[in-house]
Symmetry: C2
Subunit: 144 residues, 2 copies
Protein backbone atom coordinates (compact mmCIF):
# COMPACT_ATOMS: atom_id res chain seq x y z
CA UNK A 1 0.00 0.00 0.00
CA UNK A 2 1.24 3.45 -0.81
CA UNK A 3 2.14 5.61 2.16
CA UNK A 4 -0.30 8.20 0.84
CA UNK A 5 -3.17 5.77 1.18
CA UNK A 6 -1.86 4.48 4.48
CA UNK A 7 -2.02 7.81 6.28
CA UNK A 8 -5.32 8.63 4.56
CA UNK A 9 -6.79 5.68 6.45
CA UNK A 10 -6.05 7.59 9.65
CA UNK A 11 -7.85 10.65 8.30
CA UNK A 12 -4.61 12.44 7.52
CA UNK A 13 -4.30 14.42 4.30
CA UNK A 14 -1.22 13.08 2.51
CA UNK A 15 0.85 16.19 1.95
CA UNK A 16 4.44 15.74 0.81
CA UNK A 17 5.98 16.51 4.18
CA UNK A 18 3.68 14.12 5.98
CA UNK A 19 4.27 11.33 3.51
CA UNK A 20 8.01 11.83 3.88
CA UNK A 21 7.85 11.65 7.67
CA UNK A 22 5.63 8.58 7.68
CA UNK A 23 7.81 6.91 5.07
CA UNK A 24 10.77 7.56 7.34
CA UNK A 25 9.00 6.08 10.34
CA UNK A 26 7.96 2.99 8.43
CA UNK A 27 11.41 2.30 6.99
CA UNK A 28 13.48 3.18 10.06
CA UNK A 29 12.53 1.03 13.01
CA UNK A 30 14.97 2.94 15.20
CA UNK A 31 12.43 4.93 17.21
CA UNK A 32 13.89 8.19 15.94
CA UNK A 33 13.77 11.58 17.58
CA UNK A 34 12.64 14.74 15.81
CA UNK A 35 16.30 15.63 15.39
CA UNK A 36 17.12 12.36 13.63
CA UNK A 37 14.16 12.61 11.30
CA UNK A 38 15.05 16.20 10.50
CA UNK A 39 18.71 15.46 9.81
CA UNK A 40 17.77 12.71 7.41
CA UNK A 41 14.84 14.26 5.56
CA UNK A 42 16.40 17.69 5.34
CA UNK A 43 18.81 16.26 2.75
CA UNK A 44 15.96 15.26 0.43
CA UNK A 45 13.56 18.09 1.14
CA UNK A 46 15.77 21.07 1.85
CA UNK A 47 12.86 23.34 2.78
CA UNK A 48 11.46 20.96 5.38
CA UNK A 49 11.40 22.64 8.75
CA UNK A 50 11.74 21.14 12.18
CA UNK A 51 8.46 22.74 13.21
CA UNK A 52 6.67 20.81 10.49
CA UNK A 53 8.13 17.58 11.78
CA UNK A 54 6.89 18.42 15.26
CA UNK A 55 3.45 19.28 13.90
CA UNK A 56 3.31 16.21 11.71
CA UNK A 57 4.30 13.78 14.43
CA UNK A 58 1.81 15.34 16.80
CA UNK A 59 -0.86 14.86 14.14
CA UNK A 60 0.18 11.24 13.64
CA UNK A 61 0.05 10.50 17.35
CA UNK A 62 -3.31 12.21 17.82
CA UNK A 63 -4.75 10.17 14.98
CA UNK A 64 -3.25 6.89 16.08
CA UNK A 65 -0.88 6.62 13.14
CA UNK A 66 2.25 6.63 15.28
CA UNK A 67 3.33 6.16 18.88
CA UNK A 68 5.12 8.68 21.03
CA UNK A 69 7.54 7.01 23.40
CA UNK A 70 8.29 8.73 26.69
CA UNK A 71 10.89 6.20 27.70
CA UNK A 72 13.63 8.63 28.67
CA UNK A 73 13.79 12.18 29.94
CA UNK A 74 16.16 13.59 27.33
CA UNK A 75 13.77 13.69 24.42
CA UNK A 76 10.80 12.00 22.87
CA UNK A 77 11.01 9.10 20.42
CA UNK A 78 8.54 8.07 17.77
CA UNK A 79 7.45 4.74 16.41
CA UNK A 80 5.57 4.03 13.20
CA UNK A 81 4.75 0.52 14.37
CA UNK A 82 1.39 0.80 16.09
CA UNK A 83 0.98 -2.90 16.76
CA UNK A 84 1.02 -4.14 20.35
CA UNK A 85 4.59 -4.23 21.56
CA UNK A 86 6.82 -3.02 24.37
CA UNK A 87 10.22 -1.33 24.39
CA UNK A 88 13.56 -1.83 26.07
CA UNK A 89 16.00 1.05 26.17
CA UNK A 90 19.68 0.55 26.92
CA UNK A 91 21.01 3.10 29.36
CA UNK A 92 24.48 2.83 27.88
CA UNK A 93 24.07 3.05 24.13
CA UNK A 94 20.60 4.57 24.06
CA UNK A 95 19.29 1.98 21.63
CA UNK A 96 15.61 1.15 21.89
CA UNK A 97 14.68 -2.46 21.18
CA UNK A 98 11.21 -3.63 20.20
CA UNK A 99 9.70 -6.42 22.26
CA UNK A 100 6.92 -8.30 20.53
CA UNK A 101 4.27 -10.50 22.14
CA UNK A 102 5.92 -13.67 20.84
CA UNK A 103 8.86 -12.97 23.15
CA UNK A 104 6.76 -11.51 25.97
CA UNK A 105 3.21 -12.88 25.99
CA UNK A 106 2.08 -10.49 28.71
CA UNK A 107 1.96 -7.77 26.05
CA UNK A 108 -1.17 -9.35 24.64
CA UNK A 109 -2.99 -8.54 27.85
CA UNK A 110 -2.18 -4.84 27.82
CA UNK A 111 -4.88 -3.93 25.33
CA UNK A 112 -7.63 -5.25 27.58
CA UNK A 113 -6.52 -3.59 30.79
CA UNK A 114 -9.12 -1.73 32.81
CA UNK A 115 -8.71 0.75 35.62
CA UNK A 116 -11.92 1.67 37.38
CA UNK A 117 -14.10 3.93 35.29
CA UNK A 118 -11.19 5.78 33.83
CA UNK A 119 -10.93 5.93 30.07
CA UNK A 120 -7.67 4.30 29.04
CA UNK A 121 -6.44 5.47 25.68
CA UNK A 122 -2.85 4.36 25.70
CA UNK A 123 -0.76 1.71 27.44
CA UNK A 124 3.00 1.60 27.30
CA UNK A 125 5.32 -0.94 28.83
CA UNK A 126 8.82 0.49 29.08
CA UNK A 127 11.85 -1.45 30.21
CA UNK A 128 15.28 0.01 30.78
CA UNK A 129 18.61 -1.56 31.60
CA UNK A 130 21.78 -2.57 29.83
CA UNK A 131 21.58 -4.40 26.53
CA UNK A 132 23.50 -7.55 25.74
CA UNK A 133 25.99 -5.77 23.51
CA UNK A 134 26.86 -3.20 26.14
CA UNK A 135 27.20 -5.84 28.83
CA UNK A 136 29.73 -7.69 26.69
CA UNK A 137 31.68 -4.49 26.14
CA UNK A 138 31.76 -3.94 29.89
CA UNK A 139 33.07 -7.46 30.49
CA UNK A 140 35.79 -7.01 27.90
CA UNK A 141 36.98 -3.86 29.64
CA UNK A 142 37.04 -5.60 33.00
CA UNK A 143 39.22 -8.46 31.82
CA UNK A 144 41.78 -6.18 30.17
Amino acid sequence: MRVEDYILKFGIKPLVQRVAVMKYLLTHKTHPTVEEIYESLHKEISTLSKTTIYNTLKLFVENGAALQLNIEDKCVHFDGDISAHAHFMCQHCGMIYDIFPSKMPIINELSTLEFGSHNIQNVQLNLTGVCEKCMKKQKNKETK
Copy 2:
Protein backbone atom coordinates in the same frame (compact mmCIF):
# COMPACT_ATOMS: atom_id res chain seq x y z
CA MET B 1 11.12 4.56 61.02
CA ARG B 2 12.76 7.93 60.79
CA VAL B 3 13.35 9.24 57.31
CA GLU B 4 17.02 9.59 58.18
CA ASP B 5 17.27 5.86 58.80
CA TYR B 6 15.12 5.07 55.79
CA ILE B 7 17.40 6.71 53.26
CA LEU B 8 20.46 5.37 55.05
CA LYS B 9 19.23 1.92 54.15
CA PHE B 10 19.72 2.87 50.50
CA GLY B 11 23.26 3.97 51.24
CA ILE B 12 22.35 7.65 51.17
CA LYS B 13 23.86 9.99 53.69
CA PRO B 14 20.96 11.73 55.46
CA LEU B 15 21.74 15.39 54.98
CA VAL B 16 19.04 17.90 55.82
CA GLN B 17 18.13 18.65 52.21
CA ARG B 18 17.89 14.99 51.33
CA VAL B 19 15.77 14.19 54.33
CA ALA B 20 13.44 17.05 53.44
CA VAL B 21 13.05 15.86 49.86
CA MET B 22 12.43 12.26 50.87
CA LYS B 23 9.98 13.35 53.56
CA TYR B 24 8.15 15.30 50.88
CA LEU B 25 8.03 12.29 48.57
CA LEU B 26 6.77 10.00 51.30
CA THR B 27 4.03 12.34 52.48
CA HIS B 28 2.88 13.60 49.08
CA LYS B 29 1.73 10.76 46.88
CA THR B 30 1.13 13.18 44.03
CA HIS B 31 4.11 12.19 41.89
CA PRO B 32 5.52 15.69 42.11
CA THR B 33 7.84 17.44 39.71
CA VAL B 34 11.02 19.20 40.74
CA GLU B 35 9.13 22.48 40.51
CA GLU B 36 6.44 21.33 42.92
CA ILE B 37 8.93 20.02 45.44
CA TYR B 38 10.93 23.22 45.21
CA GLU B 39 7.90 25.49 45.64
CA SER B 40 6.88 23.60 48.75
CA LEU B 41 10.22 23.05 50.46
CA HIS B 42 11.55 26.48 49.64
CA LYS B 43 9.15 27.88 52.22
CA GLU B 44 10.67 25.80 55.02
CA ILE B 45 14.29 25.81 53.90
CA SER B 46 14.77 29.17 52.23
CA THR B 47 18.29 28.38 51.09
CA LEU B 48 17.34 25.15 49.33
CA SER B 49 18.21 25.36 45.66
CA LYS B 50 16.55 23.72 42.72
CA THR B 51 19.87 22.23 41.67
CA THR B 52 20.07 20.38 44.98
CA ILE B 53 16.62 18.95 44.39
CA TYR B 54 17.72 17.74 40.98
CA ASN B 55 20.88 16.23 42.46
CA THR B 56 19.04 14.65 45.35
CA LEU B 57 16.34 13.07 43.23
CA LYS B 58 18.95 11.74 40.83
CA LEU B 59 20.75 10.19 43.80
CA PHE B 60 17.51 8.67 45.07
CA VAL B 61 16.70 7.14 41.71
CA GLU B 62 20.21 5.78 41.20
CA ASN B 63 20.09 4.13 44.61
CA GLY B 64 16.60 2.75 44.20
CA ALA B 65 15.06 4.98 46.85
CA ALA B 66 12.64 6.66 44.42
CA LEU B 67 11.19 6.18 40.98
CA GLN B 68 11.49 8.56 38.07
CA LEU B 69 8.36 8.56 35.94
CA ASN B 70 8.71 9.38 32.27
CA ILE B 71 5.00 9.29 31.63
CA GLU B 72 4.69 12.59 29.80
CA ASP B 73 6.94 14.73 27.66
CA LYS B 74 6.58 18.00 29.57
CA CYS B 75 8.63 17.11 32.62
CA VAL B 76 9.66 14.29 34.85
CA HIS B 77 7.71 13.14 37.90
CA PHE B 78 9.01 11.39 40.98
CA ASP B 79 7.56 8.77 43.25
CA GLY B 80 8.71 7.79 46.71
CA ASP B 81 6.69 4.60 46.56
CA ILE B 82 9.05 1.97 45.22
CA SER B 83 6.66 -0.95 45.55
CA ALA B 84 5.39 -2.64 42.39
CA HIS B 85 2.69 -0.49 40.87
CA ALA B 86 1.69 1.17 37.62
CA HIS B 87 0.50 4.68 36.78
CA PHE B 88 -2.38 6.27 34.94
CA MET B 89 -2.07 9.88 33.86
CA CYS B 90 -5.07 11.94 32.87
CA GLN B 91 -4.46 13.95 29.73
CA HIS B 92 -6.94 16.58 30.84
CA CYS B 93 -6.11 17.41 34.45
CA GLY B 94 -2.59 15.99 34.50
CA MET B 95 -3.25 13.96 37.61
CA ILE B 96 -1.28 10.75 37.99
CA TYR B 97 -3.08 7.88 39.69
CA ASP B 98 -1.38 4.91 41.29
CA ILE B 99 -2.49 1.46 40.19
CA PHE B 100 -1.70 -1.29 42.62
CA PRO B 101 -1.56 -5.02 41.91
CA SER B 102 -4.81 -5.61 43.78
CA LYS B 103 -6.62 -3.69 41.06
CA MET B 104 -4.43 -4.92 38.22
CA PRO B 105 -2.91 -8.33 38.94
CA ILE B 106 -0.71 -8.23 35.84
CA ILE B 107 1.56 -5.83 37.72
CA ASN B 108 2.82 -8.73 39.81
CA GLU B 109 4.31 -10.28 36.71
CA LEU B 110 6.35 -7.26 35.72
CA SER B 111 9.17 -7.93 38.16
CA THR B 112 9.91 -11.32 36.64
CA LEU B 113 9.95 -10.25 33.00
CA GLU B 114 12.88 -11.33 30.88
CA PHE B 115 14.05 -10.12 27.50
CA GLY B 116 16.74 -12.22 25.89
CA SER B 117 20.10 -11.75 27.57
CA HIS B 118 19.50 -8.08 28.19
CA ASN B 119 19.85 -6.87 31.74
CA ILE B 120 16.53 -5.39 32.80
CA GLN B 121 16.86 -2.89 35.62
CA ASN B 122 13.54 -1.10 35.52
CA VAL B 123 10.03 -1.82 34.28
CA GLN B 124 7.32 0.80 34.04
CA LEU B 125 3.74 0.36 32.97
CA ASN B 126 2.27 3.70 31.99
CA LEU B 127 -1.35 4.26 31.06
CA THR B 128 -2.78 7.52 29.76
CA GLY B 129 -6.32 8.60 29.00
CA VAL B 130 -9.07 10.62 30.63
CA CYS B 131 -9.86 10.10 34.28
CA GLU B 132 -13.34 9.56 35.64
CA LYS B 133 -13.60 13.07 37.06
CA CYS B 134 -12.68 14.72 33.78
CA MET B 135 -15.07 12.52 31.82
CA LYS B 136 -17.92 13.62 34.06
CA LYS B 137 -16.95 17.24 33.56
CA GLN B 138 -17.04 16.70 29.81
CA LYS B 139 -20.48 15.12 29.98
CA ASN B 140 -21.81 18.00 32.04
CA LYS B 141 -20.60 20.48 29.45
CA GLU B 142 -22.21 18.50 26.65
CA THR B 143 -25.64 18.45 28.27
CA LYS B 144 -25.64 22.18 28.99
